[in-house]
Amino acid sequence: MHIVGIIVLVLLVLSVPIGIALSAASAAYILIDPLLEPVVIFKAFFSFIGRYSLMAIPLFIYAGFLMERTGLVAQLFRFADALVGWLPGGFGVATVLACVLFGAISGSSVAMAAAMSVIAIPEMTKRGYPAWFAGGLVATAGGIAMLIPPSIILILYGIVTETSIVALFFAGVIPGLLLALGNALSVIVIAWILKLPRGTFEGRRLWVEFGRSAPALGMPVVILGGLYGGLFTPTEAAAAACGYALLYGLVMERGKFIAGLVPTACRALNLTAVVLFLVGSVGVFQFLAANLYWPQKITEAVTGWGLTPLGFLFAYMGVLMLLGMFVDGIAMVLLTVPVAFPVAYALKIDPVHLAIMVTLAVEMSVVTPPVGLNLFAVSGTAKIPITQVMRGSVPFFLSDFLVLMLVIFFPVLATWLPSVLVKTVFQ
C-alpha cells in the first residue's frame, strides 16, 4: 500500500495526468503480485466506465452546453435583475440568483463564471461596483451550481459510493440555496458599506422578463419533477434535459442551432473524456484496493485512532481544503472519496450528508489559489488582475465556509429533503 501511495504521489508531483498516475501505480503493484494479471487494468477501466448510470454525465453536460448556446445566461440574468435588482447591491444579488437558476439547468461552473464575467461584471462596474468586488462575487457564485441539481460532482460521488443519485440531487438543494443566501447577504452588507446604488422594482418588467425566461426555467421542473415522480432514472432525466434543450434551441434559434449541434457535442465530449478518463482510472485503483482489502485496513487504522465522527469530518474537510489548492474538484472527489467513504461509513456518517460536505468543500476550492479555476476564468475574461479577484472572493468564501460549518453540525440540512422525497439511499 505504501509503495503504491508513494508512486502515485511522485507521479502527481511530476505532473503526470492524475488518471495515468493512479493506473500506473496500480499497474506497478499488479506486476509484482503473482496473483494478479496486468490485463485487469484494461478490464477494470472498461467495466467501471461501462455503466448506464454514468451516462448521465455526458448527457447532462451536453444539455447544459446546448442551453448555454441559446444565450440563456443573459436572459436569466435579466430576469434575476428584474426580480431582486431593487435590493441594496441588487445587481450583485441578481448575479447570485442567475447563478442558481443556471445551476439548475446544468452547465459548467467555470463556463458560468466566464459567461457571467462577460455579462455581469461590465454592468456592475458601470454602476460603480469596484472591480475586485464584482470579480470575487462572480468567481465564488459560479460554484453554487455544484450543489444545485443536476450536479456532476454528486453523480460521481454517487457512482463511486453506490449512493442513490436521486437522493444526492435532492440533498444538494437546501445547502445550495443556503450558499446563495449567504452570498446574497454578503453582497447586501458590502453594498451597504460601500454605498452602492440599487435598481428600482418594476412589476411590468419583471412580468416581461419572466415570460421570456419561463421556457428555460421549465427545464429544472422537468428534471426534478421527473426524478421525484419516479418517471426517470438520473440518466433518463439527463436525456430528457437534452430533449428539452434541443426543443428549446430549435424554437429559439432554428437553423443556427442545428448547425451548432455537432460542435456542441464535441465540446461536451471533450469535457466528458477528461472526467471519464479519471473515473476509469479510479476504477482500476478501486479494483486493486478492494482485492487487497485496503478500505478495511484503512478503516481499521483510522477508527483505531479513536476519532469521533465530527473529528473525522473536520480532518477530512481540512484535507479537502488543502487539496483544493492544488487539484481541481473532480480529482478531489475521485482521489479521496474511495478512501474516506468506508471510514465515514464505519463511523456511521450518513453517505448523503458526507456527499454534501464533500461538494461544499469542492465548491469552495474553485476560488482557492493557486489552482482555483474560477479565479482564472474571471480574471482572464473580465481582465481583472487575479489578486483583485482573490481579494474580492474572500467575503464570499467566508460565507461559504459558514454554510459548510452549518451543514457539518446540522446534517438535517442535507438529509431532510431526500428523507422526505426519496425512500432508498442505497440503490
Binding site: 484494461f42 430528457a240 478518463f277 474553485v366
Partner: protein
Amino acid sequence: MEKAYAVWRAFQEKILARAAALLLIGCTLIALLEVVRRYAFGHSFEWQQDAVTFFIVSAVFLYFGISQRHGEHLNVTVLLEALSAAGPRGRVAVEAIKLFALVVSFLFLLLVVWWGLPEVLESRHYATRTESLAFPMWPFLAALLLGFAFMAVTMLFQIWFEIQKLRGRSVPEEAPVLDRMPD
C-alpha cells in the same frame, strides 16, 4: 514531423471528433425515444440501455486523444508553476518535467494497449455479448484500445515537440478548451 502532426490533427478533428459527436447525438435521441416509448406506448427496447452506454463510452474513448492534444487531462501543476516563477532555468526544468511526464504516460499507455489486445481478441473469439445480448462486446473493447492508442500517438507528437522546445525551437501550440470543470 510537423506535417505528420497536421495530418494527425486533421484526422482527429474531421473524422474522429465528428464520428464521436454523431454517436453522442444518436445515443441522446435513442435515450429520449426510450422515455417516450415507455410512457406513450408502454413498450421499451431491451437493448436501449446497452446501446446508450456502450456507444457513448465508445465516443468518449475516441475523444481521449483529442483531449490530450488540448492538454485537458487533469494534472497537478503546483511544481511546474513554482518552477516557472523561478526564472529561465526554472522554465527549462518545467519543460524537462513535462517531457518526463509525457514519456511515462506514453510508455504506460503502450503497455495498456499491449495488455488489452488479447482481451479484445478473446472477446471476439468467444463471442461475448453485452448484458442484453444485443451487441457483441469486442467492438466496444476495441474502441477503448483505440482510444488509448490514439492518446499514445498524440503523446508521441507532444514528446517530439517538448524535445524541440528544450532545443529552443518553436512548436505549434494547442489552445485548451474552456469548461474543464463541470458542476
